[in-house]
């Protein structure tokens, strides 16, 4: 504003009169993310709906809860633990699965929808760079959804515990077993770690790839995202009779080094020992994945500059 407006006749006076408020990059980012939430309400409606369903189902199941608790008392502690914890882990898994699916479909539409409905012509008329736009869209699966999943799961599990406690108290069964065998804080810590390590960092290249495809494909973004990967695997198999690419994809999707421990080991007596953040942070898979993500996003930014409405 300063250099070029001063060069213009008459405008120095004007630019002093109307000193435009400077809008920081953070503020533009904030509004761009809010914009995404306005447009894609499924980001929070879908996990909330699933949470409501879980609570509804759980409420019905509390009819048998006193009997279940009495039966559990007869079991050995490890079994007790498993039995009590199971619905809580299941709820977390269900909400997590939902937000993952939401994230995939969000990414596939993020840079495609605005071109399809021509609204890109409106967004581009505002002083928001393509970089800010792409980063705000990438922040939905990488930041917003993991944190939202965490918050919704915590509240859901807390309500579940509250419901159980009330039901048990009313039926005169001791709540001590329930409370001692439900390490909620530990579970929440693990959940948060899992969401940040796997869903945000480890899965980042998947979301980066989906965003890239949504910025490039003119139609059928889902096919364009999936078929090339399939084709690479098939060509590799035919040409070299190997399946390194497929193995790599499988490794990525299964959650890598941390994911195996989390899903297969489920929730054993001391799950916190399964967490190896140090090992995760030095694993080359993580950093290669993040570098690939950065490359994918850079291409998506470039694509957004070149692409117009379709």
């Amino acid at each position: 504003m300063s250099t070029q407006s001063n060069a213009m006749p008459e405008s120095p006076v004007e630019s002093q009169v109307i000193a435009p408020a400077v809008i920081s990059a953070t503020r533009r980012m904030y509004w761009s993310v809010r914009r995404e939430l306005w447009e894609n309400r499924s980001i929070y409606i879908a996990p909330l709906a699933v949470a409501a369903l879980i609570l509804f189902g759980f409420l019905i199941s509390t009819i048998h809860l006193p009997d279940k608790m009495r039966a559990a008392l007869a079991l050995d502690p490890a079994k007790q633990h498993e039995l009590i914890e199971q619905p809580y882990s299941f709820a977390a898994l269900l909400i997590m699965g939902t937000t993952f699916i939401v994230a995939v479909f969000y990414c596939l539409d993020a840079l495609h929808g605005e071109r399809r409905d021509r609204s890109i012509l409106f967004w581009k008329s505002l002083p928001v760079s393509d970089l800010t736009t792409v980063l705000s869209k990438a922040s939905i699966p990488l930041v917003v959804l993991p944190l939202l999943t965490f918050a919704i799961t915590v509240v859901t599990q807390w309500i579940m515990l509250l419901l159980s406690t009330v039901v048990l108290l009313m039926s005169g069964v001791s709540v001590a077993t329930l409370w001692t065998h439900l390490p909620l804080f530990q579970m929440w810590l693990m959940l948060l770690y899992h969401l940040l390590a796997i869903h945000a960092l480890w899965y980042a290249p998947i979301f980066g790839w989906l965003l890239l495809v949504s910025g490039w494909a003119r139609r059928a973004a889902f096919l364009w995202a999936a078929l090339p990967l399939l084709a690479i695997g098939v060509v590799e198999k035919i040409a070299f009779n190997t399946s390194h690419f497929a193995a790599m994809l499988g490794h990525r999707l299964s959650g890598g080094p941390e994911g195996v421990g989390f899903t297969a080991g489920s929730m054993s007596m001391d799950p916190l020992t399964q967490l190896t953040p140090g090992q995760f942070l030095i694993s080359p898979g993580l950093w290669v994945g993040l570098a690939v993500t950065a490359a994918f996003l850079a291409v998506a930014v470039r694509l957004r500059r070149y692409q117009g409405p379709i």
Binding site: S11, V22, R28, W31, E39, R118, F122, P127, S129, G308
Partner: protein, 291 residues
């Protein structure tokens, strides 16, 4: 400094040449009408100016290169690239919030003021508004931005005559002042004739005609020639001749008004008539050239 300066602007889509060396110069404070037939390169030229398309050649808008610095340029430039490009899911209040959130020169109170004159409700979604109301909303957003350059590409396409008239009236009365520049393309040339200060015709990727409206009014005269004077009139080399109401209407470039008055009724031609004459002559000159 010129608001827009272009030299040798070229753009090709495959083998189709959309811009074939456009030289363009727009001074601050003008309202320029860019008129041309379909496929002449109007939209491509405007898209290059607002950083939506890449180009070859030299182009500076407010001293910036629009392709590489679109986001900075958009602090001082505003555009309506097409009718109904506002996202259909957005609420009117959200649109106001968002533009206020990202645009340093947006005056929310002003936008609210414009909207108060319409029947648009704050809680409505764009998909619930009529096409005319969407255009009103977009114009309200754009007029509340204190921009130096406003680019309008067919901003009233498909709107009924009331909305079209209102659109240009509010643009002139509530928005335009001598420090702003507006570039507009439209097919409804007769509606912008009284609005423009400058006129440009574009055809096959080139600017084929460029003059100010004052020059236009003093240079070009249209005469409804009395049948007995037709030969004398034709001797003055009209640039175009057509028939209307049983009389010959001849268009002259730079011929003395008094001389013409002797031949029939003299009046200022419409932009449309001049456009037809210039484009007709172009076609004549480029006989056989592929369109």
């Amino acid at each position: 400094m010129a608001c827009i300066g272009a030299r040798g602007l070229r753009k090709a889509f495959g083998t189709t040449i959309a811009l074939d060396g456009v030289d363009l110069h727009v001074e601050e404070g003008r309202i320029v009408g860019l008129i041309g037939p379909n496929g002449a390169g109007k939209t491509t030229a405007l898209n290059a100016i607002i950083g939506l398309t890449q180009y070859q050649g030299e182009l500076k808008v407010l001293g910036r290169d629009p392709w590489t610095a679109r986001d900075q340029l958009m602090r001082d430039v505003c555009f309506i690239a097409d009718v109904a490009v506002l996202p259909r899911w957005i609420r009117v209040s959200q649109a106001l919030d968002y533009v206020a959130g990202v645009h340093p020169r947006f005056d929310r109170a002003k936008a609210e003021g414009f909207l108060a004159k319409t029947s648009i409700r704050r809680a409505s979604k764009v998909r619930e508004l009529s096409k005319g109301m969407v255009a009103q909303l977009h114009l309200a957003l754009v007029m509340a931005i204190d921009a130096k350059l406003l680019v309008l590409d067919e901003p009233t396409l498909g709107l009924d005559i009331l909305y079209r008239k209102q659109f240009y009236d509010s643009l002139l009365n509530d928005y335009f002042d001598r420090s702003r520049t507006i570039v507009v393309t439209t097919h409804q040339v007769e509606e912008v004739q009284h609005v423009l200060t400058d006129l440009m015709f574009i055809n096959r990727g080139c600017i084929v005609f460029d003059c100010s409206m004052e020059e236009f009014e003093s240079r070009y005269l249209e005469v409804m020639v009395h049948p007995e004077h037709i030969d004398a009139a034709r001797a003055l080399k009209p640039i175009h001749e057509r028939q209307g109401l049983g009389r010959s209407i001849l268009l002259f470039d730079d011929v003395d008004r008094n001389q013409l008055a002797a031949l029939g009724e003299v009046r200022t031609p419409s932009i449309a008539d001049l456009f037809v004459a210039v484009m007709g002559n172009q076609a004549g000159q480029a006989q056989g050239a592929a369109r």
